[in-house]
């Protein structure tokens, strides 16, 4: 575990060597620790797969290396052996995405097999990025790992449920995208209207770092 300076007002904590369950446990423990004991002057924290950014108020950034070191020390003594049982958010999915058949064929599976494998796990929000509220969810069954499309689509609709590399995710806004679309949901990851009115910014997002997700297959009429 290391603390790297990242410009005059931030540090990057590296808490694991590679993504996976151990990294997830450590990330969740770090987030919980920072939420409980935010270091003085902290403006925001941003999780990555094996790193975590701490960004400080420029007027209070002289102690940032020490703050980062203290957080990692607490982590070393307090990594839980099991993943925490946080609440699970359910997302209904109509599995009729335009890449479902191609992806199934490439794996020598039937589309219902892909649906079964995709909707079986309880996923963790690994990180949120790419666009507002877009979750990278894991662990995806290794059979379903699929490199991104060679040519991204110009427009992927918000609500598209997709697979990219070792992750699955949900497009949060209409945007270009290179993931394989296997389904769609009416649940919105980012409520654009809420951005104009929300008292707490987090209210505009369906998921946050540390949340868990379960996909539930439904018929077209119900989503």
């Amino acid at each position: 575990m290391t603390v790297s300076p990242y410009g005059p007002h931030a540090v990057l904590l590296r808490f694991a060597d590679e993504p996976g369950e151990d990294a997830l446990r450590r990330r969740l423990a770090l987030i919980a620790d920072i939420e409980r004991h935010p270091p003085p002057g902290l403006i925001e924290y941003v999780p990555g797969f094996v790193t975590l950014l701490l960004r400080f108020d420029p007027s209070q950034s002289h102690q940032i290396a020490r703050a980062g070191g203290e957080i990692l020390e607490r982590l070393a003594s307090a990594v839980p052996k099991h993943l925490p049982d946080g609440p699970i958010k359910t997302i209904p999915v109509v599995y009729d995405g335009e890449d479902l058949t191609t992806l199934a064929d490439a794996k020598a599976l039937s589309p219902p097999d892909v649906v079964r494998l995709h909707s079986a796990p309880i996923y963790h929000v690994q990180l949120i990025g790419f666009s507002p509220g877009f979750p990278y969810l894991g662990e995806l069954d290794p059979i379903l790992h699929t490199p991104r499309r060679a040519t991204p689509r110009v427009r992927v609709a918000a609500g598209s449920v997709a697979i990219g590399g070792e992750h699955t995710g949900i497009y949060s806004v209409d945007s270009p995208g290179g993931w394989h679309i296997i389904g769609r949901t009416h649940v919105r990851m980012f409520d654009e209207a809420c951005a104009a009115t929300a008292a707490a910014p987090a209210d505009a997002f369906f998921l946050r770092p540390g949340d868990r997700v379960r996909f539930v297959p439904v018929e077209a009429t119900k989503a």
Binding site: L12, E44, Y45, L127
Partner: protein, 283 residues
């Protein structure tokens, strides 16, 4: 209280409301946004006695045209597009006056402030428009832009004096810090980054500026996606650096060799494609 200030006759190559952005939402995938040239934007507000974070219009290069709805004080700063309004000073325009930017000469981004500040829609408390994330929308022809009618909140600069303009054709060497993956690169890469000339690529926008020059980090592999600060100098497999700008992704998988000093990012932002920039160590 608000009142009509300007009408958008045409937005040219692009015009959006901006302010000092919405930092603090990166963990939800929302970049900080804000004016690309924060210095010029702040100066435009200062000339009018506006709050430093009042909304301004950010205009890309040439082609945009506005019309004043009433007699109103404005301040235009940033890039020089041969407009009909004097730059870097408070200027009163009469009702019906056209404000236009026919031919870009120097810099990329123009800032227009009005007295009181524009009364722009706010998302997460900021007027900064982030079209790629569907936060707000660019200005279009026919938009009527209102301003907040109130006295200045701080002393305005209305004695005809100007703020010293920046010469965007001759930026200083841009200060950079070591990034989290600095140590993965060879000394030759560090040397090239700090000593060579870098040309701003035409494929540069509010998301990122690409730099053409010597190839860096031939043996440095992509990394698991990590948080990315604006100003980060990332090295993709092509070896040509990408500097993350204000609408850039909040996470990324390219190793980050350096970080442009936050104070100097506004200089880089105004560098036109083809211009040469140099870096120097901030440490």
């Amino acid at each position: 209280m608000n009142a009509d200030a300007l009408v958008v006759v045409r937005p040219g190559l692009g015009a959006t409301f901006q302010d000092d952005g919405r930092p603090g939402l990166a963990r939800f995938g929302v970049p900080p946004g804000g004016a690309m040239d924060a210095h010029a934007s702040a100066c435009a507000n200062r000339l009018l006695g506006n709050r430093p974070d009042a909304a301004v219009i950010e205009v890309l290069l040439q082609g945009a045209r506005f019309e004043a709805c009433r007699e109103i004080a404005i301040a235009v700063t940033g890039a020089d597009a041969q407009g009909n309004v004097p730059l870097w000073r408070r200027h009163v325009v009469g009702a019906g006056t056209s404000i236009e930017f026919p031919a870009s000469r120097d810099g990329l981004w123009i800032y227009i402030a009005v007295e009181g500040g524009f009364d722009a829609p706010r998302y997460f408390g900021s007027a900064s428009v982030y079209p790629r994330g569907r936060i707000g929308r660019p200005l279009t022809a026919g938009d009527v832009l209102k301003h907040i009618v109130s006295g200045p909140t701080s002393p305005r600069i209305d004695d005809g004096s100007t703020i010293q303009p920046r010469d965007y054709s001759h930026p200083p060497a841009i200060r950079i810090w070591r990034g989290p993956q600095w140590h993965l690169f060879e000394p030759a890469d560090h040397h090239a980054l700090l000593q060579q000339d870098w040309a701003v690529s035409p494929s540069s926008d509010r998301v990122g500026y690409r730099l053409d020059g010597p190839q860096l980090g031939a043996r440095v592999a992509p990394i698991p996606s990590q948080p990315v600060l604006i100003g980060s100098i990332q090295i993709p497999p092509s070896g040509q650096p990408i500097v993350t700008m204000r609408d850039g992704p909040t996470v990324g998988g390219y190793p980050t060799i350096g970080l442009v000093d936050p104070e100097d990012l506004s200089w880089l932002a105004q560098c036109r494609p083809g211009m040469t920039v140099r870096f120097q160590s901030a440490e």
